[in-house]
Each structure stands twice: as C-alpha cells, then as structure tokens.
Amino acid sequence: MSGQEDLERMSGRSPDRSSTVDSGLTMLGAAIAAVLVLPIGWLAIDAAGLGWTAVELAIESRTTGVLVRSVALVSVVTAASIVLGVALALLTVQGDLPFSRFWTILCALPLAVPSYLGAFAFVSAFGPNGAFANVLAPFGVDSLPSVYGFAGAAFVLTLYTYPYVFLTTRASLLSLDGTLVEAGQTLNSGRWEALKRVTVPQILPGIAAGSLLVALYTLADFGTPNIMRVEVFTQFIYAQYNAFARDYAAVLSLQLLGVTAVILAIESRIGVDESGAYESGGNRGAVDLDLGAWRYPALLVPVAVFAVAILVPIGIFGMWLTQGGPGYEAGQVAFSWEYGWNSANLALLAAAASVVVALPIAMASARADSRLAALADRASYVGYATPGIVLAIALLSLSLDLLPTLADLTGVDAVGLFYKTIPMLVFAYVVRFMPQAIGSIRTSTLQVDRELVEAAQTLGRSRLSAFRSVTLPLILPGLAAGAALVFLTTMKELPATLMLRPLGFDTLVTYIWRVQEAGFYGQAAVPALLLVVVSGLSMAVILSQETGDS
C-alpha cells in the first residue's frame, strides 16, 4: 500500500460508498443504542418524582463534595494509568525485551482480577492488623501508613485498570508505521524527540480509547471505593439506596451520568482522528526504543506490578484458605462447581450478544460520517459508565412498569418470560459492557479495504455474502478481542448480577459475595482463584489477536 493511498484513507473515505447500506446501518445502530440507553432513562422518571427537591439535592454541599471527590479520583486514576500503561506498552513493544510475550501477559493480567477483590486483599494485607503489619510487628513496627482513603483507592484502581491503556496503546504501537519513526530519527530529531513528535501523536487515539475505559470504570466502580472508604458517587448512591432513598439515589445517578457525558466529550476530541492511529495496518519494521542494558532494570516495573497486583491477592486468598473463618461454631456456605459453570455461561452469552449488537454500531460509526452514527457510538458508552447497581435498579423499575402492562395487552406472561431471567441478566451485561467491544470492532472495520468488498460485489456476490466472505474474516480478530473483553468483565460483575439473577441461581462472584458477607473468607479463596484463572484465559484471547507482535 503506498503512502498516497494511506493519506487518502486517513483524510477521508472513498467517495463512492454505497450510502443506502450506510444509512441502513446507521439507523440500526441508532435503534440499538436507543434500546440500550432506555433503562437509564427510567432514572429520570424516578428523579422527576421528587420535583423541585431533586434540584435542591443536586446542589447540596455534600452532593457537590461527592462530585468533586469523584472527579478527582477519576482524574488521578486515569492519569496514573496512562503513565503506567503507556510506559509498559512501550517497554513490551519497543523495548526489545527477552521473552516479550511473557512480559506482555504479566502486564495485562491485573485486568483479570476484580478490583474489589484486589482492594479487599489489600486491606487484609496492609491494613491495620493486616498480614503485613503482623509480619513487621516483631521488628518493632507498630503502625503502617493507612491504606484507606483517597490515595489507597486511587492506587488499587490504577493497578487493576491500567491494562486497558496498556492494551489499547500496544495495539496502536503494533500498527505504528515504523518507517515514520525512522524518518523522524533520521531527520536528526533524536530518539525521544521522535517518540514525542512521531510516535505519540500516532498512538494518542489508542491511549485515549484506553483512558476512556479507565475513567468510566473508575466512575462506575463501587467495590473499591467502598472498601477503601472513599465517599464517591457509587458509594453514596449505594448508601442512599440502602437507606430506602431510591429517588435520591436516582438524582445522584443522573449527576454521575452528567460527569460521564463530559468525559465522553473530552475523549471524542482526542479520539476524533482515530483513523490515523490504526489505518496503516500491519507492522512495517519493528521500532526499537534502544534501551540498551537499561532494558533489564526496566523489567523491575512489570515485576513489581505483578507482585503487588497478583501475588498479594493470591497470598491473601491462600492465607484465608489455611486460617479459616471468623470464629463461628460451625457452618459454611456450600460451594458448587455449578457456580463456575454459570459464570462462564453467562459471560459467553454476554460476549456473543455484545458482539452481535456492537457490530452494526461500530460499522456504522466507522463507515458513515453521519452525526447520528457518531452519537449512537457515543451514547452506548453511557451504559459502561453506569454503575451496575444503578443499571439494575433502573432495569427493575422499567421491567416492573412495562412488563405487566405488556402482559395485559398481549396475554403473554411477559413477567415470567423476562423478569429476573438469564436474558434479562444478559441484556444488562450488554448495556454495561458492549461499549468495550465497539472500540476493537470499529478499529478492525477501519482496516478493511473497501475496494475488496466492492470487488467482491462486482464479482456478483450479494452484500451479505460479500460481508461473510470478505469483511468477516478480516474483522474476526477484532470481534474476538471485543468478545473476550466483554467476557472478562462479565465474569467479574457483581452488583447487577446480585440484583437481577434468577432465584436459586448463583455465580462465582455472588458466591464470593455471600461467603464474604457471612465472614467465611477462607471459602472465598478457591472461587476467587478460579475466577482469576478463567478471566486470565480470556486475556490470552485478547493478546493473541494482536497483529504483528514483535
């Protein structure tokens, strides 16, 4: 592919695109996005019930305090994740490391650990009278700096979410046009100057895509701030909901969505020229950071991250296993392997459904230039930023308002067919996690050469057949990576699962929740490890889809 073609594809799409297909796709994408956002609209109805009080609550000082704290947490975690994620991505892609595959997996693995488990393990390890304090006590160390609070929460969240930035930045780096960097270096810019002026602008959209996921994850996470005792939106919403103040919880949720909208707007400014990062497709010549002997001490960074993010929790799980529970006379919550099966099944369903749903939205936003397509793409991210508990509350309200009416109109038992069933749960997962799949699908769609598809059509293939035989094989890696990401996060999801699951149905995370609530920490160890291992396997899928790994 010549540079000329590259330029053409970066600056605009081929002019003779079949606009009917695109507008059809756009309408489909928009319709899907609307359905996904619908449950969240129900929050507005809850909040509206409060009338003027809603506004008063929204501008109350404690509400604004929570707002400021949440925004601060999101900013710090995102910034720290960018530093860590980009540095490790550069190191693993361009650092010319021995066993670079191994280091890549090491760096990506923290994503497989639910951050609330990480936070819990951290508090157990480093909290007052934790394992670490007990180890140090004989040496005269009485007290450790508190792990609780803002700094602790920011640390734990960064540790378990930076892999989003790591993965998306790697993807950009791997498709980076090495000749450009070389040109930069040749033009006397020096290694760092070339990095700054050539590499960074090219990988910026990749960084932005990962940062968006980090920021929205942080905003929507409940477990970590709760365990680390930082009062942010989700924690506050949860406290209000459990104090039977659902309408106030709805007001807070809407404010949280306001913050989401701002984050999305920021990201779309950076990510707007996303074609630039991805389009040159394939790795033409490895770029080398040329760290020399420094690359060995640099390895201490991934080692340290792995030790803290993975080994500490595993050590704590192991300790729980051997030390047992909190002193009950007897009793335990029986574990069944069926929970693992349920988790994996749900996650597979959610991954498959997400890919099917994400495909039209991603293709429309990659191909059509319309505002509607872009809006559909953006709007779907709202679900990702909606805390699980908020989505679950909204979805329950919506179903209980609509399904009985539907049943009256049609005579079909709509409640029995949908309410608190597996499909309802999967729907919630799709709303929450599908946006993670959009990114990678859009990227791979952008890499499909339009002329190939058109050639297939010219040769008498129908549109669908051309899609199947040309487009699909080309975007399959993107689909797989997107599906794996949805699988991974569904495995970890707790609040919506707790609220929406069918009666008598448990998964790994709901089981872990039950035993931890009852204080049987020892019994959480095996399912927690199982969860991390299965999630880790899906990480392998994500990494194996990377093109042209060095």
Binding site: R62, N242, P326
Partner: protein, 402 residues
C-alpha cells in the same frame, strides 16, 4: 430401618426421633450431653449424616447445635420440636438478606434434607435492597418471593410500611416470647436476636469502668482515645437511629461529635472492632454482641468481656426476622416455615452457631450472655428503624460519615 421417602415413612422415623429426644430430655439436665460431644471438634453440622438425624443420631448434637466450647454442656432445648410440627412440603421462593443470611443457608439445607418434598429457591442480596425490590414487585403485581428473611428489622419495617406483606398466622408467631419481636398485625416475626454491646479488654478496663449509659461514654476518661466503632456498618446505623428516636436529633449529633472528638477510631466492621479490643489496641468498642463471642470462640483466653448499657440505644436488641410477601399463594407453607424457624432445634442452631439471641423461652443464649429479659433495650418500635435516611444525614452533619 427402611429408608422410605414418602411422608408416611418419614413420620415413622421422625416419631422415633421424638422418643429418643424425650428420653434424652429427661436424662440430660445434669450435663450428660458431654458424652455426645466429639472432642476432636469434627462434629460439625455439615459433616452430619442425614440418616443419623432421621433415625438414630442425637438430634441437636449432630445437626442443629454448634460444636465448639460455647455450645457444649447445654441443656436440651425446650420449645416445640420439629418432630411435632406438620411436614414442610412444596417449593418456597425466598429472598434472604446477606451477612448472617449466609449462615442461615445451612439451616435451610437441613430442613430440605429432613423433608425431601420441601425445596427452597433462595436469592440473596442486601436486606434493604431486597425490601425495596419486594415493594416494587408487589406494586407491579409481579412478586417473585413467597417469603422474605431479613437480617435487620429496618427492612422488615420498610416492607410493612409499604403494605407489601400478608400477616403471619397467630400460630406461626405464637412461639416468640417477647411481643417486641413481632411486628404489628403479625407483619413479621423475629427468629434470631442480636444485642448492641460494648466489648471491652479486661486487661485495660474493669467492668465498673464501662458506664451503663451510652451518653456517658464520651466523658469517661478511661475511654478517651481508646474506643473503636464501625459507622458504615448497618447495625451501627440502626443504633444511631434508635438513639435519634429515643433522645432526639440534637443530642444524637452531639454524642457523635463528642465520640469522634474523643478519638474514637473507625473500623470497617464490628468483627474488626472486637478483634482489636481483644488484642488490646482498643480498650472498648461498639459492636453487636456476637462478634466478641466469635473472637472468644477462636481465642478462649482473649481478655475480652461484654458490657451492656441500660435503657438506651446502646442496649438495642435488633432481630433478623421473616415475613410473608403479599399475594403469595403459599401462605400456609410460609407459616409452617416460620414455625420451623422458631422450633427448639432451629433456635438452638441460632444460639450456638451464630451466637444469636433465641426468640423462644425454651432456648437460652450461650454461656456468658445475659438472657434477653435481663437486657434493658430502649422502648422503641423496631420497625421504625427503617428511617435510616435521617440517620445518614445526621451522621454526615456530625462528620462521622456513614
């Protein structure tokens, strides 16, 4: 014995059990139960064989009674035995609160193994979340659960206030000894109680150092900078709600501020508070009574005792309780289920496994605890504990974030 699973076969084997129980009952008072104690501590309920229970084994020791020190040497529980109750039969959809609910699952499993025709479909979540879901579902005419087992009276009160229950039968609630633990209109029945208590370290304090009024704590010099609490914990919020109801907003806010300024240390939960009192890093704390017993059960020599305040919020006795969800077509089964939870065996289970306060006369709390009639809880309606919203605002304004 033939292992028949039809109801006749079961009633035969259960009748034998009754006979066994009666014989043991007459002979047991002098502590003969020691002979059934498995000294190596392996005699945990989950290891017990169901057939032991149904025919030959000792009912309480093998199945419903905890196995450790605190549970040994107890008299045979009085009250109505499961053997004398009608069979449980059918499917029951149960919303069950988290936390203690995790332990209750064991009891439900035991009931399911006694009655092969009985099965429970449980769904667990926070009690408050389930309460709100029940109200929404009942309003929409789409209720899913037949019975709600909350670990906190406030959630029961919420469902009752929103008229999403059907009253329990008089027979079902009849065994509850104290009318404070039954809701108005038989809306709910308490099945296990927990008292607010003050665990204190006996190396650092003597019993007389602990005031018997909770409002005296901030000004007690022995307690300055050496107390612990867990303000995020639900039971603590119920305690503050009770104080609000008894002493009013302003006095409660002042108390919170005074305690905070006295250097009271925050913990994530009350088990941690009790552990730290036992370690000596705290002199005393605020916690549900059973946490100290769990610590004692693990570490019998820990210098840890419990004090109870009198007639104020510090002496609140909260309950976990059960209610019938409005519109269920299994009302009779729910009533019978409640009677089983209030049976001698189930009450012995709550007393010796989770160290709760039993709700019936015939079963005593584990050794070292005053019986429930010796406690002097504040005079409030437990359902009113559902007014948590004001409590949260109050705690925020006192800078003790909930």
């Amino acid at each position: 014995m033939e292992d028949e699973v039809d109801s006749r076969g079961r009633s035969v084997s259960r009748r034998r059990l009754v006979q066994g129980g009666a014989v043991l009952g007459t002979a047991s008072v002098a502590g003969c139960f020691g002979m059934f104690n498995d000294d190596d501590g392996n005699n945990t309920p989950q290891n017990a064989n169901v057939s032991d229970f149904r025919g030959t084994g000792p009912l309480v020791e093998g199945n419903f009674r905890g196995s450790g020190r605190l549970a040994s040497g107890r008299p045979y529980p009085g009250g109505t035995s499961i053997n004398d109750l009608p069979d449980l039969s059918g499917d029951l959809a149960l919303y069950i609160g988290g936390g203690e609910g995790g332990i209750y699952t064991n009891l439900i499993n035991k009931l399911e193994s006694i009655y092969p025709d009985f099965s429970v479909q449980p769904s667990s979540n926070d009690s408050a979340s389930l309460a709100q879901t029940i109200v929404e579902e009942v309003d929409a005419g789409a209720s899913q659960a037949d019975v709600f087992w909350s670990i906190d009276a406030s959630s029961l009160g919420y469902v009752a206030d929103n008229d999403a229950y059907d009253p329990l039968s008089d027979e079902a609630v009849g065994a509850v000894a104290n009318s404070q633990f039954v809701g108005d209109d038989n809306a709910w029945a308490g099945v296990a109680g927990r008292a607010r208590a003050v665990p204190y370290n006996t190396n650092r304090l003597s019993e007389s150092d602990v005031p018997n009024k909770v409002q005296e704590f901030p000004s007690t010099s022995a307690l300055q900078g050496s107390m612990g609490w867990a303000p995020t914990y639900g039971a603590f919020k119920s305690f503050v709600t009770a104080m609000r109801l008894v002493r009013g907003e302003e006095a409660t806010r002042q108390w919170l501020v005074d305690m905070r300024e006295a250097g009271t240390e925050r913990y994530g939960n009350e088990y941690a508070v009790s552990q730290n009192v036992a370690n000596g890093s705290l002199a005393a704390g605020f916690a549900n009574h059973y946490y100290a017993l769990r610590v004692k059960n693990q570490r019998p020599n820990a210098p840890l005792e419990l004090a109870f305040t009198e007639g104020d919020a510090g002496g609140l006795v909260n309950i976990s309780g059960v209610m019938k969800v409005k519109g269920t077509d299994k009302g009779d089964l729910v009533d019978n289920f409640v009677r089983h939870l209030l049976s001698a065996e189930a009450q012995e289970f709550f007393a010796t496994v989770s160290f709760s306060y039993p709700m019936i006369k015939g079963v005593k709390p584990v050794a070292g605890l005053p019986t429930v009639d010796k406690l002097s809880p504040p005079d409030i309606d437990l359902s009113e504990l559902s007014n948590v919203q004001e409590t949260i605002e109050l705690m925020e304004s006192a800078n003790v974030s909930p």
